[in-house]
């Protein structure tokens, strides 16, 4: 018995000691907390994302010696995509490093919602890249939330533009169905699609799918056998995506008229559906594949034994998204250093960096990221930055972009952001900043 207790104590000491032994970020390093989900129901999506972050930051440290000489330090915290764990991770990591957390990438609309007020109070920028609240693009009300390069509302607009073009320039009299995850995330595009239905004269019908989305037979019988729409859009996540593709095939719905949002367009969404997924389309906010020059550097990093990702994830949709996400951050850091000096930046300084971020095509090319992203330019009022999305198609083995980057029609979207943000400000008693 004594021996057993000793063994338990030894294991406990090792575990605790192991955690404590993790070297803290030094005063000369910029600390980045990584909220990841490498386990749980969304791990197939979370792993390539986490891998992309790790590889990019490692590359910046190894190839460039950091950002203007300031090396990046990071620590992963497992959220399992749970809101409560996300908040716990944020709290645990926010005081790490010389300047505390400099940014937080929640990778969950739910965690983003949970962190908006906390992070704003703590002056930590929330970078919700292609997720979270669309109205947070209004920087006057949401000074610490950034939605670049594009929001869900803008995504809905891009989908309609694409369908319109494919229908020869008019959607009048056509039918569009939306299959959506029955959550705050899934409901984001509905108002935009309803507005566009009115403006462009198409019939719109939405079909909610309960979490996790393993059963969609009834939904697809309604779509495939009753409504028979010209286009189906999907706002799905996790197992819902592959199940939807399979059920669509089971009712004979043509895949080339089925378009998912960028969270319904990774490898993990189509591979489980097998041949049924061939021809399925989705939006993407980043480029696909490994053609960009940066992948040569990543290959070299791995060849030198310093890569941190599982090599099979390199070039996948979500790995590339994390590369672009990290690039946005390092560019915001570089911008902030331009004003405040070449040293680790605080969250408040990096918020300034984001608001003054101007990623031009030249910067993209010189970073070796040609084709992976489109230019963005942010401001105090505009936290979305004018980004765009491509349409990609699954050929049974890989994703391939089938359009150039398509810009959403922001002239109509911006007033909607502002109206919704104003409503939020009223509810929360926030006085919007003056950005003029």
């Amino acid at each position: 018995m004594q021996l057993r207790k000793l063994a338990f104590a030894a294991v406990g000491a090792l575990v605790i000691g192991g955690t404590a032994a993790t070297p803290p970020a030094s005063a000369a390093e910029q600390f980045v907390p990584l909220l990841v989900y490498r386990t749980g129901p969304y791990a197939p999506n979370g792993i390539p994302l986490a891998d992309g972050f790790n590889d990019f930051m490692q590359l910046v440290n190894e190839r460039d010696g950091g950002v203007n000489g300031v090396k990046l330090a990071w620590e992963e915290c497992e959220t399992q995509y749970n809101n409560d764990r996300g908040v716990e991770c944020y709290e645990r990591l926010k005081a790490q490093g010389a300047t505390g957390s400099s940014v937080v990438n929640p990778y969950s609309t739910g965690i983003t919602y949970a962190l908006i007020e906390r992070a704003t109070a703590d002056k930590v920028p929330v970078l919700s890249m292609g997720y979270g609240r669309a109205d947070a693009s209004d920087g006057r009300v949401f000074p610490y939330v950034f939605t670049l390069p594009i929001t869900y509302w803008a995504g809905a607009d891009v989908m309609v533009q694409y369908a319109n073009e494919k229908e020869g320039g008019s959607l009048k009299g056509k039918k569009i169905a939306l299959v959506y995850h029955d959550s705050a995330y899934g409901k984001e595009p509905i108002a935009t699609l309803e507005r566009l239905a009115e403006e462009e004269g198409f019939q719109f019908q939405a079909f909610p799918v309960a979490h996790p989305g393993l059963e969609q037979k009834a939904t697809w019988l309604q779509i495939g056998r009753q409504l028979r729409p010209d286009w189906v859009f999907m706002w799905g996540w996790g197992v819902m995506n592959s199940t939807a593709i399979k059920e669509a095939a089971a009712v004979g719905y043509p895949m080339d008229r089925f378009v998912g949002i960028w969270w319904s367009g990774a490898e993990a969404d189509v591979v489980p559906a097998g041949d049924a997924a061939k021809g399925y389309k989705s939006l993407n906010i980043t480029g696909v594949g490994t053609n960009a020059p940066i992948f040569e550097d990543i290959k070299k990093l791995h060849a030198d034994g310093k890569g941190l990702a599982d090599p099979k994830n390199i070039g996948t949709v979500l790995y590339n998204r994390a590369l672009v996400n990290s690039f946005y951050f390092t560019e915001a850091l570089r911008t902030a250093q331009g004003k405040f000096g070449e040293k680790p930046m605080s969250g408040e300084q990096i918020q300034w960096g984001f608001e003054n971020l101007d990623i031009t095509q030249d910067k993209i090319d010189s970073a070796g990221m040609t084709g992976l992203l489109s230019p963005v330019k942010l401001s105090c009022a505009d936290h979305e930055g004018g980004g765009s999305a491509v349409v990609q198609q699954w050929d049974g083995a890989k994703w391939a972009a089938i359009t150039d980057f398509i810009s959403p029609r922001r002239a109509a979207l911006r007033p909607a952001y502002e109206a919704s943000a104003a409503q939020y400000a009223k509810e929360k008693g926030i006085t919007p900043r003056d950005c003029s």
Binding site: T39, A218, L221, R225, V271
Partner: protein, 339 residues
């Protein structure tokens, strides 16, 4: 099949066409007064049939719960993770190059081994403990298997394709314009479910082990006193539940891909069990059919009135309504306690 089971089954079979006709007429009436509801008899039958076949898929999962509850009175919280673990293991062996039939056999062996370990490590030290303690232990097994499976085989979504046809078929084209859509995969699942139920029913009623299992279920102490080895029986029943989980895992894994969410389908088995009874194997099938058909019909024809996505809570509501009238479920054993 005993007489107590045959009578309600016969009644159900006779009542079924009447129930379907009444339900159809009611929905037709609803469609006449509410424009958001679409009704056509061919469409109604299509939805109903799809629901019945979906119900078989639920029943496949529910069977595993019934087996363990029948033999030990424990509600096995870990059944969902057994399904996931079995499917992950089988895909793992297929990826190693084994033919799926061989992978099935090897995985069945792994599930038996797992059952023996569960009996030795978890159940044996808890003999004669209250059922709630054993239930709590199964929660522990759930979390262990969940993590262990992912550690062993990874968290990626895996494809399981054993060649089950998936193409849509159109039947009764001469009766209804355009016919009724049925998926070949669902028909195979129904066949598998039927074979499994018949096999289990025979095993429980006509084999020595089956009778011993039922004796243990009735009274642990009495079964022990007549020489039935409780430990062996528990290992056997967990083995059988593991193999049933493997079959359910193959069917669900072929349908949705093998991934963590498979463990969540256990939630779909709960209303089936409430309705069919925790101790009846045919009850799991009938419960599955009613829940499957009920929720699909509700989602398609009543869902539009509530904004959709009602099928999950509707299944539980349907089960609760049954619970009001038959607390032991449709085919469960009536519990009579003297006080």
């Amino acid at each position: 099949m005993n007489a107590t089971l045959a009578r309600p089954l016969t009644l159900w079979l006779l009542a079924l066409p009447v129930i379907i006709a009444v339900l159809g007429l009611a929905l037709q009436g609803l469609a006449a007064v509410n424009a958001s509801v679409f009704f056509a008899w061919s469409y109604f039958l299509e939805v109903l049939f799809a629901g019945l076949l979906q119900g078989v898929m639920y029943a496949l999962v529910a069977l595993g719960f019934v087996l363990i509850f029948k033999a030990s009175g424990i509600f096995n919280f870990a059944q969902g993770s057994l399904v996931l673990f079995a499917a992950l293991t089988m895909v793992g062996f297929i990826e190693m190059g084994l033919h799926w039939t061989l992978a099935f056999v090897v995985t069945a062996g792994v599930m038996v081994l797992l059952a023996v370990v569960v009996e030795r490590v978890v159940l044996r030290p808890l003999v004669n403990q209250p059922h709630i303690i054993l239930f709590m232990a199964t929660i522990g097994i759930f979390y262990f298997l969940d993590g262990f499976g992912q550690t062993l085989w990874g968290s990626d979504v895996k494809v399981l394709d054993i060649g089950i046809p998936k193409q849509p078929l159109f039947v009764l084209q001469g009766v209804f314009e355009g016919g009724i859509l049925v998926n070949a995969f669902d028909l195979v699942a129904a066949l598998v479910g039927a074979v499994l139920v018949i096999g289990l029913a025979v095993f429980f009623h006509y084999t020595r082990i089956g009778r011993a299992l039922r004796a243990v279920a009735d009274d642990h102490q009495a079964a022990l006193s007549v020489g039935i080895p409780l430990k062996t029986i528990w290992a056997i029943v967990w083995s059988v539940a593991g193999i049933v989980a493997l079959v359910a895992g193959i069917m669900w894994g072929s349908k949705a891909g093998v991934q963590f969410s498979l463990a969540l389908i256990a939630l779909k088995a709960l209303p089936v069990l409430i309705l069919g009874g925790f101790t009846s194997i045919p009850g799991a099938i009938i419960g599955g059919l009613i829940i499957g058909a009920g929720e699909q019909v509700a989602e398609v024809f009543i869902g539009p009135l509530f904004g959709g996505a009602i099928q999950d809570w509707f299944a539980y509501m349907l089960a609760l309504v049954f619970l009001l009238f038959r607390p032991q479920g449709l085919f469960g054993e009536k519990i009579i306690e003297r006080v």
